[in-house]
Structures are given as C-alpha cells and as structure tokens.
C-alpha cells in the first residue's frame, strides 16, 4: 500500500526524529519531525479507511444505448454508446480515485475509454460514457470498473475492482430486405419424378380448379371472364402455399473455433447461417437450426415467426462465442495471460492476507517432475533444487574461503598496511557474500515466479469453480486439472487463449472426429421428423476427416432417398489460397517457408477436391465458404425448391 515515495519520506522522517530525540537540545527538530510523522500517520489512517471500508460502497449501473434508446443486445457492425453511472453509498468520501471501465475483449473503442479522476463523494455520482463498435458476432462480457485509490500526496496506493460481470450478445449483422434474394428467375423447370405437390385449395397464387359459385363465396374469387362465357357464376380455387423448409447444421466443434474470435471459421459459418435465416424468414420460409460439436447438439425445429428468427440469431451468437479447448494446453503459456487478467480484475483476491504464498516454498518444496506427464530437463532440475542449493552453498563457501585465503596471502606478500588489508578483505568478503546470495536467486527465477502465480490462480479457480477447500492443492500439483480449469475460466471471461495445435506426441488436437457421429445422428433425426422436400445445409469442416465420413455419408443417402436436398458448405483456412488458386510467391525468398506453404496448400486443395467428388457421387453439392456468396447460393436453392413444389397450374 505504501509507495516508494511514502517509504522514502517515512524513512527520512523517522531517521531525523531518532537523531533529534537521541541528541540533546533538539527540541525544534523533534517538534518538526513529530509534526511530519503525525501528519503522515493521519494521511495513512484516512487512506486506509477509504481503501478498506469506503471503496466497498462503490456501485455501478451500466446501460448500452443506440440511437433509439437502451438495448439488451448488440449487433455486429454497429456503434453503441456505453453509459456507466457510479455511486458511492454511505457518508464518507474518497479523497482521490481514478476510475475506468474495463474494456471487454472483442469490441472496438474508437475514442478509447475515458478515465474519471478526482474526489468521490456520495452526493455526486460519476458518469462515464464512451462509444463502442462490435466487429464480430458472439458474446462480450463487461467485467466492471477498475478503481485506483491514492492520497493527495502520493504516499499510498491501492488498486481494487468493482465487479459487474455482465454479458451481452452480439447478434449477426442485420441484412436489409431483399439483399440475399435469388439472382435469377428459374424458367421452364419440370418437377423431377417423385416430387409431391400439395393439391389442396388454399390461399396461394397458383390456380388449382374452377367450380360453380356457391352462396357465401367471396366476390373477389369469381372468375368473371369464364362466368361471362358460361353464363353462370364460376369461382376460382387456388393451390395452398407450399412452404419450403430448410435446416441449417452449424459446426461449432473445436476445429472451427481456432483463431481469434470473430475471425475464425466459426464466425464465417455463423455469418452465412444468419444471412440464410434472415433471407428465408423474409420469404416466409421455415428455417431450423442444429448447432453441434464433438459431444452434443442443440436443435431448433423449423419455424418462421419473428420470435423464432431472433431465437436463431441468439443461438448463432452463442455458438460464435464458443472458445476452443485443447486437451493438452500448455500451462506455461496460459499462466502469464491468466495472471495478468487476475491482477486487473481480481486485485483484491491476490492480496497476501487472502492468498499468500510462502516465499520459501519454491526453494524447499518445488513441484516434482514425476507428477508431470511430459517433464522437461528444467522441470527435473527444478525438482532437485532443495538438494542443489546446499551443495551450491557448500561449494560457494569453500570457494570463497579459498579466495579469501589466497587474497590474504597475496596482500601480506605485498607488505600492505594492516588497515588496508582489513579493508580489502572486508570488501572482498562483502562481494563474495553478495555473489553467494544473488546467484541462487537468479536460478529458476521464472519457475519460482510461475509457481507463485500458479498457487494464487489455483486458489482463485478453486473458489470460482466450487472446488474449495481441497481444490487449491489439487490444482497446484496437477497440470492436467489446472490447464482444464484455467481454460474454462478464461473462456468464461471471453478471453482468447494461446493454443498449440499439436500435442507433445505430435498429434493434431483439433480434428474433432467425434462430430461426424453427432452430425449424422442429428441429420437422421431431422430427416425422420421432416416433411417433403426439405433442404439440409451442412455448414461443417470436413477437411481433416475425409477418411472418417462413413456415418455422415449414410445419413446423407437416407436424406437423398427421402427426396430431400443436401448442400455442404466447408469453411476454408484463412490465408490459404482458395481451391483452384496457386500459392502466391512469397515477398522475401524463403525456400523452406515457400515449400511448407505449397505443401499445406496442396494438402488442403486435394482434400477439398476428394471430398467434393465423394459427395458429388451422392448428388450433394459442396462449396467453399470463402468462395463467392454461399448465402446467396443457398437462398437460390430454396427458391428453386419453392418453384419446383409449386409447379405449373393444371386447368380444367
């Protein structure tokens, strides 16, 4: 709590006070330094009351506004205004505070986030307002307010946080009406064999039949020309509207979550799904959604109300916010990110009276290497630190003794004066002592620091995830559990985590093979509950799984046998040339880099083409999500289905 300025001032004042009180006749100096000391202690007391008691009374109310007023959800691609009102309850005040909102990851602040500073009183609430823009669909979490307290002199400092974990959905970009309609009008389409038409009278646009007028028929349905010809009233009968049903299967597995939120394959698939849903809703077609991953799926049956569309968009936004989780997450790479986040958002939970770390623990009881799955040489050495340390000291003291002896002999041979010898020996002893102290401190410095961070984070995770009271120790010792809980914690706070694509044994961790079975079951269930001629759009990454598609192909065959249409949209890795494009020459000639790039591109191109061929044999079209406009193509397909189902009218 005491800053460097405070420490120096206290030290000098106390020293002078001691001198004044020990020496006779120093009344004036004693009164001066006592006055300074009393003033310092009073400032400390006032600050401590503010930091420990008054700061707890801060509360905040947050609202997000657009041009029309407060909103509960955000929309991608639009600007909003964040308004935060901070109040201090009670009677006391804070002499100096600097308050700023903690910006969530995933939003842009074009004007930065302003910080308010000054005296905080109960009578005067604080208002902080700033604009934000949301570039990508998903979820954003506002953590709360970062509050930094100080006294007016700068002697004391305390950082705290007013938590207000609030999550807002960022819904996909709103399409304007007609922006994704079909690009061409189909002509002269004959219905393929086996297609059923709904030959029932209804309110559609196609004429079904003509019949004699019955009392009660509405006048607008009278066919006047035919009635004039036949000299009696004839009524027209129209076909029922043929609703077209479309179900979107959106892949939300680990394989599409790789990359920064908003720029990964999942964001692209969600964007396509949202556009299709909005266009279909505009045409009053029924759209359903299935979001699946390696373990489970969420299904929404096709419908076409406004509320249903909003529900779809919300589910897509929730899916876009899913973070990748690696079975083998590198603890060393997650620790700095997690700890720096904890320092900002959980400063009170890292205080030594609540979350202490004994300084001697990494020296005398470091984590053992035998408990790690893949121990490195550094881990094994660090585990033996308690043995290395005494050995080092013994060696060091012996060496120091030998050096001192040699130095003494050399100085006596040089016939130096005794006081010079004593001085030089004292300096040499001091230097050697410093070396003996500093060298061990430099050993494993980062590991000791990481051990401290890990202990403090384990304590926080244990409380947050309900593992207390024994969870602290389990997380401290078990890398597997700790990595899993830390990923979960970072995902809850919507922070991207650094990941390794391959585990220590060289296996790719993000193929997500389990999703094929889940997708196949979902497709079969949808086919089982489906009506006639539905369109199933599979927005799924299959590039790494071309040899494991058996269950999915069988499900597709079942769907095709029921006269449904299936379309596959495959996301494409960003930065890679599209299928059919060559690798561009690299700017600086680096043959290894170029060869790697060519090999990866070739692999993906071949996988894409093989998949396309496999699906084409079943009559399924596969397109690349990064190529052209997949959403428009899907809407086109829906429109064709509608035309096919309507067909030409049969006149009697």
């Amino acid at each position: 709590m005491l800053t460097a300025r405070g420490w120096w001032f206290l030290l000098i004042t106390l020293t002078v006070l001691l001198a004044a009180s020990l020496l006779p006749g120093q009344t004036t100096l004693a009164v001066i330094t006592l006055a300074l000391l009393f003033w310092f202690l009073a400032e400390w007391l006032r600050f401590a009351i503010g930091a420990l008691l008054v700061a707890r009374q801060l509360s905040l109310v947050r609202e997000l506004h657009d041009a029309r007023g407060p909103v509960d959800s955000l929309w991608a691609g639009r600007q909003f205004q964040v308004m935060v009102r901070v109040r201090l309850r009670g009677l006391l005040r804070l002499v100096y505070a600097r308050i700023g909102d903690h910006a969530p990851y995933g939003i842009e602040t074009p004007e930065g986030i302003p910080e308010w500073e000054g005296e905080v009183t109960p009578e005067r609430p604080i208002h902080i307002t700033y604009p934000i823009a949301c570039p990508a669909t998903g979820l954003v979490r506002f953590e709360g307010l970062a509050v930094k307290l100080a006294d007016l002199q700068g002697f004391f400092y305390h950082a705290t946080f007013v938590p207000d974990g609030r999550i807002y959905r960022v819904l996909p970009v709103l399409e304007s009406a007609g922006s994704a309609t079909a690009t061409h009008k189909p002509h002269n389409l004959l219905p393929p064999p086996g297609v059923h038409r709904q030959r029932r009278p209804g309110g559609g646009g196609e004429l079904l039949d003509l019949r004699d007028y019955l009392p009660g028929d509405p006048p607008k349905l009278i066919a006047w020309k035919v009635s004039a010809r036949r000299d009696r009233l004839i009524t027209k009968e129209f076909e029922s509207e043929v609703p077209v049903r479309c179900t979107l299967f959106v892949d939300a597995s680990n394989s599409v979550r790789l990359g920064p939120p908003g720029q990964n394959a999942l964001a692209r698939l969600v964007e396509i799904g949202a556009r299709v849903a909005q266009s279909a809703a505009g045409n009053r077609d029924l759209v359903g959604l299935v979001v699946f991953d390696e373990q489970s799926l969420e299904q929404v049956r096709p419908a076409r109300s406004r509320r249903h569309l909003v529900d779809l968009l919300r589910r897509l936004a929730d899916a876009a916010a899913r973070a990748p989780a690696a079975p083998h997450a590198p603890v060393e790479r997650l620790l700095p990110l997690a700890y720096s986040f904890a320092q900002e958002v959980y400063p009170d939970w890292l205080r030594s009276d609540r979350n202490a770390f004994p300084f001697w623990l990494p020296w005398l009881s470091p984590p053992p290497a035998w408990a790690k799955r893949f121990p490195r040489p550094g881990d094994r050495l660090f585990a033996r630190f308690p043995l290395l340390l005494p050995a080092f000291f013994l060696l060091g003291v012996s060496l120091a003794g030998a050096i001192m002896l040699l130095l003494a002999r050399w100085l006596s041979r040089m016939h130096a004066r005794p006081e010079y010898i004593a001085g030089i020996m004292a300096l040499a002893a001091l230097a050697l002592l410093l070396v003996l102290i500093e060298v061990p401190r430099m050993l494993f410095r980062q590991r000791r620091r990481h051990y401290r961070w890990r202990k403090q984070l384990s304590a926080i995770l244990s409380v947050e995830h309900g593992l207390a009271p024994g969870g602290l120790s389990l997380l401290l010792e078990d890398d597997f559990l700790f990595a899993r809980h830390m990923q979960r914690w970072l995902a809850e706070h919507h922070l991207p985590v650094p990941l390794t694509l391959y585990d220590p044994e060289g296996h790719y961790q993000y193929a997500a093979a389990g999703k094929i079975d889940v997708l196949a079951q979902g497709l079969l269930r949808a086919v089982g509950k489906g009506r006639d001629n539905e369109l199933y759009v599979l927005l799924v990454d299959l590039l790494e799984l071309e040899d494991r598609l058996g269950p999915l192909l069988r499900a597709i065959k079942v769907a095709m046998a029921r006269h449904h249409q299936v379309l596959v949209v495959c996301p494409w890795p960003p930065g890679l040339p599209l299928p059919g494009q060559a690798v561009p020459p690299s700017a600086g000639f680096d043959p290894v880099q170029t060869m790697l790039q060519m090999a990866v591109t070739d692999r993906f191109h071949h996988a894409f083409h093989r998949l396309r061929r496999t699906l084409a044999r079943l009559g399924v079209l596969m397109i690349c999500a990064a190529e052209g406009e997949p959403a428009r193509l899907i809407v086109d397909k829906l429109d064709r289905l509608r035309s096919v189902r309507s067909g030409p009218a049969i006149k009697r």
């Binding site: 006055a35 100096y96 700068g154 400092y157």
Partner: protein, 252 residues
C-alpha cells in the same frame, strides 16, 4: 492532454510553498544560523523551479525536494550539537536550546506547509498514482478539479499536527522513567507509542474490512488458511492425483 497553463490549484500550492520557504528562512535567520539558512531555501526553491521533464518524466530534483528539505532543515539544527559532541572547531556560535517556544511551532508549520503543498503540487502536475512501468512516454497532467474541502483540510492539518507534536514532546519527558537516560527513554517511548498506535489502528481496520468481505473472498481466505495449516498432507494427495492423471487420456 497536456496542460498549457497552471490551474488555480497549482498556483495556490505554489504560493503556499513560496510563503513557507520564506517563513523558514526568516525563522532560521532569527535564530542566528547565518549562511546555513540558505540551505533549505536553495533546496526548496530548486524543488519548485526544477519542474522540467526529461524524456517525458519529471526531473528527480522536483520529485525529491520535500524529503531533501527535511534533511536540509535538520543540518543547521543538528550542527551545533554535533560539533559540541565531536569537539569540532566551532564554526557556529549558536546556543543549544531545550525549551519549546512559538518559533518552533511556526517553523514546524512552515516545513509541513511546504512539504504538503509540494507533494500536492506534484499530484496536480502529474498524478498522485505511482508510475506504471508498462507505460512509457509523458505522464499526463491530472485533470481533477480542486474542491474547497481540500484547502480546508490542509489548513486544519497545518494547525493541528504541529500543535499536537509540540504537546506530545512537551508531555513525554515528564512521565516516569525506568532508570534510563531521559533521551533514550523518550526515544523508546515515541517509537513504542507510534508503533502500538499504528498496530491497533491497523488491526481495527483489518477487522472491519473482513466484516465487509463477500462470501467468495471469505471462502478464499479460509481456503488459504486451511492450505497453510495442512499443506503437507494436501500436497501429498495432490501429487498422487497428478501422478494418476498424467497417464490419463485427455479426451475422456
């Protein structure tokens, strides 16, 4: 945003510093310190004038002026006693005084005024918060307004603490002693009273702070206490659990 002009608050604190320096100079001169009275004046004036910046950071002279002023005030006051004790050639013929007078009070007020005003001036010119080592470049000036209560509290402090210090110093030697030298006894008593007072206040505040903890914070604290008390057993269990998990398929 960089301020181009001094605000009212800055000017007010500058004025207080200048007046305080002047008062110190006059009071020390009156006591016969001669050329030594220039030392605190030079240090104080240099602290006010040295408000430049080097690579965006305030100059050291500007930052350390208040504690150095305390030393600069102590030097002329200690010199007669030290020279007497060490039998040094008497450069100054200033009698050593034990009695407390109004001059002592005024000098204490002047020194406190300069130090408090100078630190608050630093807080206005930059910020009272410690520098963030992650941020390089110019420290921006504070934008906070100066409330009237701040000046009122400063005036109150300038009156209260020197008077209390005077009373405390006057009262202390009259308490009973334990056969120790009076100066040593007084020193020990001061340290003990200040230390015990700070400890008591700190304990009360900590207790009140703990009463206001949230449930999660209390759980964190209790968990930590349990861990410290049973660390060895928990460590053993944790390490066996880690050994069991290290061969586990991470996908399950």
């Amino acid at each position: 945003m960089i301020r181009d002009h001094a605000t009212d608050g800055t000017r007010l604190y500058e004025t207080i510093c200048i007046v305080a320096l002047g008062a110190q100079f006059v009071l020390l001169l009156e006591r016969g310190f001669g050329s030594l009275t220039l030392l605190p004046l030079i240090i104080g004036a240099a602290g006010l004038l040295g408000r430049g910046r080097w690579h965006g950071q305030p100059l050291v002279l500007w930052r350390i002026a208040p504690p150095v002023l305390v030393i600069a005030i102590a030097v002329p006051l200690l010199l007669p006693t030290v020279s007497q004790l060490l039998n040094l050639p008497k450069a100054l013929d200033i009698p050593v005084r034990e009695a407390i007078g109004l001059q002592d009070l005024l000098l204490a007020v002047a020194v406190l005024a300069y130090i408090a005003a100078h630190y608050r001036l630093q807080g206005l010119e930059a910020t009272p918060l410690p520098a963030d080592p992650r941020q390089t470049g110019r420290t921006e000036a504070s934008q906070r307004p100066l409330p009237a209560s701040e000046m009122f509290s400063l005036a109150l402090e300038l009156l209260l603490w020197p008077v209390l210090a005077l009373l405390a110093w006057d009262l202390l030697p009259r308490w009973y002693d334990l056969g120790l030298d009076p100066t040593i006894w007084r020193t020990l008593l001061i340290l003990w009273l200040i230390g015990m007072g700070a400890l008591l206040a700190s304990s009360i505040l900590n207790y009140l702070g703990r009463r206001r903890m949230t449930r999660a914070e209390a759980e964190l604290m209790l968990q930590d206490i349990l861990w410290r008390e049973t660390r060895r057993e928990q460590r053993r269990i944790g390490r066996w659990s880690a050994w069991k998990n290290k061969n586990r398929d991470p996908l399950t």
